[in-house]
């Protein structure tokens, strides 16, 4: 690709900002706008930017994700969180939360909604990228 130096350089910076922002959105979900769905989409958008500015092969080498596995992992995580509550004698998908004193973060609220949200996050990233890349790679 010709004269893509600017693009590459900016992408390198911007992608990290976008990705960090997406992680922020993901964690902010519980108390502020955000969450697994939005975070996942934002991550997907960031990765898409990488794919658009560099070619597919390069990025695949750098980020060797198998998106199908990612979708499956996400689904398992979401479903598994729900199952845990069944072992504790509650209804399926009952979420728990409590406040803990953590070494660096201080008093933090930990909730089972987080792994559930993480599952959603993984599925959304997987779905968005898998569909787009499949279509893009298709040259038939």
């Amino acid at each position: 690709m010709k004269s893509s130096l600017m693009l590459h350089t900016i992408t390198r910076i911007v992608a990290f900002i976008i990705l960090s922002f997406s992680v922020f959105l993901f964690f902010a979900g519980h108390n502020n706008p955000g969450g697994g769905f939005i975070g996942g989409l934002m991550t997907a958008a960031g990765l898409l930017l990488l794919y658009v500015s560099f070619d597919l092969k390069t990025i695949k080498r750098v980020i060797p994700f198998n998106y199908t596995t990612m979708i499956a992992t996400g689904m398992l995580l979401a479903i598994g969180t729900g199952v845990v509550s069944m072992f504790l004698g509650d209804a399926y998908l009952t979420q728990y939360f409590d406040y803990f004193q953590l070494p660096i973060l201080g008093e933090t609220e930990l909730t089972t909604a987080l792994p559930f949200d993480l599952g959603i996050y993984l599925v959304v990233v997987g779905v968005a990228l898998l569909s787009i890349l499949t279509i893009a790679e298709d040259d038939a």
């Binding site: 989409l41 979708i71 939360f97």
Partner: protein
């Protein structure tokens, strides 16, 4: 489950075994195994005779679906036993006959034949012994099914298949109507048991459902018993092997309708509708059948129309017999129940002589290779036994003394003459029709009997027209008709053999409550009545019948006379064609294969349904008082949104269209911002971005949008439909809004507002709802996404060429 139940089910059990017998016992004709069963059953039923003639009945219960009132209850009385004896007795003879008729074990698929035949026999026994209407109906349909299978036994012949289809269509539609009739009876009486229904006859007569129930039940009986105008299937059913014709289409199945009418006479018989419909259709069928029979050239066709005519006779007699309910026997004596007596007696007689005649025709067909009376003749000297049996059968059918047909025909005349003395149902004036029609029909009956007989056995032998060397039939083929013919003679000479044992109890079941308690019908049949009207009518029948026969050559020039096919066949054939063509037309009209047409159908339906509901319940309302303040941001956004939307259909460039759709998406995201939904706005923005990317990727390869040329009418339809949808949805939304303010409901969002932090530890209420309160929805939506992505992968990666072995 009593022995009687097993007796009814025995043919079905044997039917299962028949294929094994056929396959593994090759050296013995399968028919011999089959014959044991009806013979045993016949002897078994004979044991009931003394008990039944004492006026006792047997009732055995077997619950089947008790919660629906459907039980396999068996009830044996005179009527049922009469039919049971006919079915098993003639069944035995027919099986014996079929062993010699279908003698070629290799060529004929005997396992099929006997399975169908046994299925039919069991079904028929079920029909006549069932006390429960639903069980009766099931057996009834089984007889239709078995009958069609038997008609199409030689299924490689086109005519057989046509006949089978025709009989199936007609009898099954009748049976279906009958089912509706039975259901109505259930509605009226709350029971399916025939005996309980008879006990509630007075309730039924006063019910508004009486007439529909009666008509529907009669539709079943008339189609099965080949009454006008449903008789057309019977001549075409003659494509069946002759044993089948002899069994089904003369002795048993066609009498199922007679059975039903007789059985339900106590329920419906009290009214004049029943009287007129049953006797009217019967008498008309009688004359229609006898006049049609004389036109036929095929022996079996003559017999088929003859059967139709005789069934009409029995039906008419059953109708006339129902008048007995209106008279006190103590006052008028036996006058009005003679008709019922004649019906029962003729039922037996017809089964004997028609069965033997069919078998004779089968023999003639078998030995000469044709049934065409124009080719036959002079068989008297070559086939003397066949000739003798045929003579007895024909004379009995024609009503000549001393055979049983004479007796029942005399009684028929008596009943028809008695009908003129009735003083009910306008019979004073119309009653004269009955003896007149009966007499004319008998003349034709006499004529076709003589015609059929003389063309086959008398005259000159024409060996040049026949394909086979003609000789007398083997003895096995002759035994069954000989047995039946001897019955004709025995019943003719000693009719009172039957009178006490079976006719009296049968009459008691058809006409209950006519006699006082403890009394019984006293039947004495004798030959000589003195010089009365009936005798002169018979003499007239012989004279005029002979005249018609002698002048047949002249008749033959009449155009009407040459037409063999029943004119009603035209109606049947064309209605089939019309039905098929009509449904093709209707289907082609709506099933255009164009998605946009189906879309129009769906939307028009929605508009119609919702519009109709709104107008019908008058639920349209606008409530301007509770509308929120419209901010300038919203106003601007909506205007831009509307402008983009209206613009969209006019864009002819694909990429532009995609971008315009994206614009709409982003505008909606802005609306979310204005309405304070940050999560939604974020999601909408991101989804829209991803969507646009996807659209661009997917549509990159597609050709440019083509301008389709639409007719103005098409455009107008689309415009109207689109506006209609928009209007209906808008009105619905407005009404819903007004309605919700008029009838406020506590929203559950208050609960979420209150509890999202306390119960779930989160301050973002939307997210708490998504992952905690309503986590399941989220999980499944994500699953939907996953499935969609995998679908895309499958669609793109798995490019099947159509040759894979999947």
């Amino acid at each position: 489950m009593s022995l009687l139940h097993l007796v009814i089910l025995a043919p079905f059990v044997l039917a299962i075994l028949v294929p094994f017998l056929y396959k593994y016992v090759r050296q013995v004709h399968t028919g011999w195994f089959v014959m044991i069963l009806p013979l045993t059953l016949f002897i078994y039923f004979l044991q009931f005779l003394p008990m039944i003639s004492r006026g006792e009945t047997i009732y055995e219960q077997q619950p089947w679906i008790p919660s629906l009132g459907i039980n396999f209850d068996v009830y044996v009385d005179g009527l049922g036993l009469l039919f049971g004896l006919l079915i098993t007795g003639i069944g035995t003879l027919v099986v014996l006959y079929s062993i010699y008729y279908l003698y070629n074990k290799k060529k004929e698929s005997l396992h099929n034949f006997y399975v169908y035949l046994l299925m039919f026999m069991g079904a028929m026994l079920g029909v006549v012994f069932s006390d429960n209407l639903m069980t009766l109906y099931i057996f009834w349909e089984l007889t239709s099914l078995a009958s069609s299978l038997l008609i199409a036994y030689w299924f490689h012949k086109e005519r057989s298949r046509y006949g089978a289809q025709k009989s199936m269509l007609i009898t099954v539609s009748g049976g279906f109507a009958m089912l509706a009739g039975f259901s109505l009876l259930y509605v009226m009486t709350n029971t399916f048991s025939i005996r309980e229904i008879i006990a509630q006859a007075d309730v039924i007569v006063t019910s508004p459902l009486f007439i529909p129930a009666m008509l529907l039940v009669l539709a079943g009986a008339f189609t099965k018993s080949a009454q006008f105008p449903f008789h057309i299937w019977l001549p075409d059913a003659m494509e069946a092997p002759t044993p089948v014709s002899a069994y089904l289409h003369s002795a048993t199945m066609v009498k199922a309708g007679i059975y039903l009418v007789a059985r339900l006479t106590p329920v419906f018989g009290i009214t004049q509708h029943w009287f007129w419909i049953v006797s009217g259709f019967g008498i008309f069928t009688l004359i229609w059948g006898s006049v049609s029979a004389i036109r036929q050239k095929d022996l079996k066709a003559i017999l088929a129309f003859s059967t139709i005519s005789q069934l009409g006779l029995i039906m008419a007699l059953l109708g006339l017999g129902s008048a007995a309910f209106h008279y006190d026997v103590a006052v008028v004596g036996t006058l009005y129940y003679t008709a019922t007596l004649a019906a029962v007696f003729h039922l037996i007689n017809h089964a004997t002589f028609k069965g033997s005649l069919f078998m004779i025709v089968g023999i003639v067909d078998h030995e000469t290779g044709t049934r065409d009376i124009r080719k036959l003749g002079g068989l008297m000297a070559i086939m003397p036994i066949t000739f003798t049996v045929a003579l007895i059968g024909t004379l009995s059918m024609a009503g000549v003394p001393p055979f049983n047909g004479f007796l029942s025909k005399e009684m028929f005349f008596t009943a028809a003459l008695n009908a003129t003395t009735m003083d009910i149902f306008n019979m004073q004036t119309l009653g004269i029709l009955f003896p007149v029609i009966a007499w004319i029909a008998s003349i034709f009956t006499f004529a076709y009997c003589i015609l059929m007989f003389s063309r086959t056995f008398l005259g000159k032998f024409k060996p040049e027209k026949l394909e086979k060397e003609v000789h007398e039939a083997p003895i096995g083929l002759l035994i069954p008709p000989i047995v039946l013919a001897s019955l004709v003679v025995i019943f003719g000479l000693f009719p009172n053999l039957l009178a006490y044992s079976i006719i009296e109890p049968t009459m008691a079941s058809i006409l209950p409550n006519v006699l006082a308690d403890g009394e019984r019908f006293y039947v004495n049949i004798y030959h000589w009545h003195g010089f009365n009207t009936e005798l002169f009518m018979t003499i007239g029948v012989v004279i005029f019948g002979s005249l018609i026969y002698l002048n047949l050559k002249k008749w033959a020039e009449v155009n009407w006379f040459l037409r063999e096919r029943d004119p009603l066949n035209w109606v049947y054939d064309n209605s089939l064609v019309w039905t098929v063509n009509g449904s093709i037309k209707v289907t082609n009209m709506q099933m255009t294969g164009l998605l946009r047409d189906y879309f129009v159908f769906m939307t028009v339906f929605i508009i119609g349904l919702m519009g109709y509901t709104m107008i019908k319940y008058n639920i349209f309302a606008i409530d301007l008082a509770n509308v929120a303040e419209v901010s300038p941001y919203v106003l601007i956004l909506v205007i831009v949104l509307l402008a983009t939307t209206v613009l969209l259909p006019f864009i002819s460039h694909r990429i532009t269209a995609i971008v315009a759709t994206g614009v709409i998406g982003f505008l909606i995201a802005l609306l979310f911002v204005v309405f304070r939904a940050p999560d939604l706005a974020l999601t909408q923005l991101l989804v829209e971005t991803v969507m646009v990317v996807l659209f661009l990727l997917a549509f990159y390869h597609l050709p440019e949008l083509r301008k389709e040329k639409f007719t103005p009418r098409f455009k107008l339809t689309n415009l109207v439909v689109s506006i209609g949808v928009g209007l209906v949805i808008t009105l619905t939304a407005l009404s819903a809004h007004a309605f919700s303010h008029a009838n406020p409901i506590q929203p559950i969002s208050d609960y979420f507002v209150k509890n999202s932090y306390e119960l779930a530890g989160g301050k973002n209420m939307v997210n708490v709802i998504l992952v905690d309160f309503r986590g399941l929805d989220t999980m499944l939506e994500v699953l939907v996404l996953a499935i969609a992505a995998l679908g895309i992968v499958v669609l793109i990666k798995l490019r099947m060429t159509g040759k894979e072995d999947v």
